[in-house]
């Protein structure tokens, strides 16, 4: 059963989402990957304002392919999240409540999620064509010079994701695998 979530995710909502839950996200999300994260955190360190409202924001780690004529966006699946680990704690402290990517996260990210209330979702890596059909609009917010890595504001409708790590630190990568292996032994 999938849980439908309307964005933005508040701190309170983030604390209510549990590891292992399949969710369908609808609303506004922002895209950012390696280079954009670096710039965003540099702004935070200088005490400057971010180019979009980070309060209760969900960031999708994606660098889409260019849109063909008539398309809203090209293929748009998640990139590997651990490369954002150096930057995520600062963004979570600044207000970020949701992250969408794929793969493991570092302990420092999980600590920040527990402290402030945030959730880490995974989208299906390699399913870029399927995921792009859930994106209803896309516009560049900043860092256009980064090409695929520019920050985009997306409106998504029922984007399928799975809550991997919740605000208590429960982790589906560990628990799902353990449950499968225990089931397989029986």
């Amino acid at each position: 059963m999938e849980r439908k979530l309307k964005l933005p995710i508040t701190r309170e909502m983030a604390r209510d989402i549990k590891s292992g839950e399949s969710c369908l996200l609808s609303g506004v999300i922002y895209t950012a990957r390696d280079a954009a994260h670096k710039r965003l955190v540099e702004l935070l360190e200088k005490g400057e304002k971010l180019p979009f409202d980070i309060e209760n924001a969900t960031i999708y780690y994606v660098g889409p392919t260019p849109a063909k004529p008539g398309q809203v966006i090209g293929s748009a699946g998640p990139t590997t999240s651990y490369r954002m680990d150096a930057y995520s704690p600062a963004l979570i402290a600044a207000g970020e409540t949701g992250m969408i990517g794929k793969g493991k996260r570092g302990a420092e990210v999980v600590e920040a999620m527990k402290k402030h209330g945030a959730v880490y979702f995974a989208a299906i890596g390699g399913a870029g064509a399927l995921l792009s059909s859930c994106i209803k609009s896309a516009e560049i917010v900043c860092y256009e010079d980064l090409g695929a890595e520019a920050v985009r504001r997306l409106v998504v409708e029922e984007l399928p994701v799975v809550a991997v790590i919740d605000s208590e630190g429960n982790n589906l990568y560990e628990n799902g695998r353990r449950a499968y292996l225990e089931g397989a032994e029986k």
Binding site: K102, A127, R177, Y180
Partner: protein, 279 residues
């Protein structure tokens, strides 16, 4: 001596790059569909269904299967009786520029590894050339995504580590990669040669159809054993648990030094893309 105009190479590289990015090879599709049928874990079944739906959409709409349309690896087997008219390197890069531009593929190459400015057209290609008998050129274009490339490893084992050492290193590499390379994965293993040749063999192993086993029974059995062991780890599709962690293990080998046992493991996600043509 046969003359081949380098412009033909440009056209072939451009067309192959687009096709490879939008159409998953038949052997990989067949492996995924068989894995789905054999998968007992519900979460894993659901993920595999979505993966199958995704490559269907990509092929139907001619859009990339994955947004990471990769660094463009181009393998050329050049017949020794061929004379290429024009600049080969420039012709291949022009093919990449055209394919990635006109095919709406993502430009994912930076000009310098530390200063990191995007080249804007996905050039240069990672070009591999081999001189072979004959008067033809075989071109294979293999866009390689970096989520899986980043999870690859190489180790200079000792001869005394033997086959058990090789198995342990392959399993350790897959275990450490966990969910990061978007399992189910294809595992390319290169054994022997030198430090660099082992890595090359591992990449070359990923170009081989997963329906084809190593021609030596000894290594074909090792491929089967490693696949079974990897699929007993329980990582599963996307790392959420399940049977299907790898679709295939392909091993390539070559002679090596009396003092060495180089082993390289090149990981690919399920989007193991390669497309070939002969000029």
């Amino acid at each position: 001596m046969r003359e081949i105009d380098s412009r033909l190479i440009t056209d072939a590289v451009a067309a192959l790059a687009v096709e490879a990015n939008c159409i998953l090879p038949a052997d990989i599709k067949s492996r995924i569909e068989k894995a789905r049928a054999a998968e007992s874990w519900p979460t894993a079944q659901g993920i595999l269904d979505k993966i199958i739906e995704n490559y269907g959409i990509a092929e139907w709409n001619s859009v990339p299967i994955c947004q990471d349309t990769g660094v463009c690896c181009v393998f050329l087997k050049i017949g020794q009786d061929v004379h290429i008219v024009g600049d080969l390197r420039a012709a291949v890069d022009e093919g990449v520029r055209l394919g990635y531009g006109e095919g709406y593929l993502r430009k994912s190459v930076v000009a310098d590894p530390l200063r990191r400015k995007n080249t804007g057209d996905n050039t240069p290609a990672m070009l591999y050339t081999e001189i072979v008998p004959g008067d033809k050129i075989e071109i294979t274009v293999a866009p390689k995504g970096f989520g899986s490339e980043n999870m690859s490893q190489l180790k200079m084992l000792k001869p005394s580590d033997g086959i058990e050492g090789v198995k342990a290193f392959v399993l350790k590499t897959v275990e450490e990669a966990g969910p990061n390379p978007c399992p189910p994965i294809v595992v390319g293993v290169g054994i022997g040669g030198t430090f660099d040749k082992a890595a090359y063999l591992a990449k070359k192993a990923l170009m081989r159809s997963t329906e084809e086993r190593n021609s030596e029974l000894f290594y074909a059995e090792l491929e089967a054993e490693l696949l079974e062991k990897i699929n007993s780890l329980g990582i599963g599709p996307q790392g959420f648990g399940g049977k299907t962690t790898a679709l295939a293990v392909n091993i390539e080998t070559m002679p090596t030094h009396i003092a060495g046992l180089p082993v390289a493991v090149n990981i690919n996600c399920h989007v193991t893309r390669h497309k070939s043509a002969v000029l």
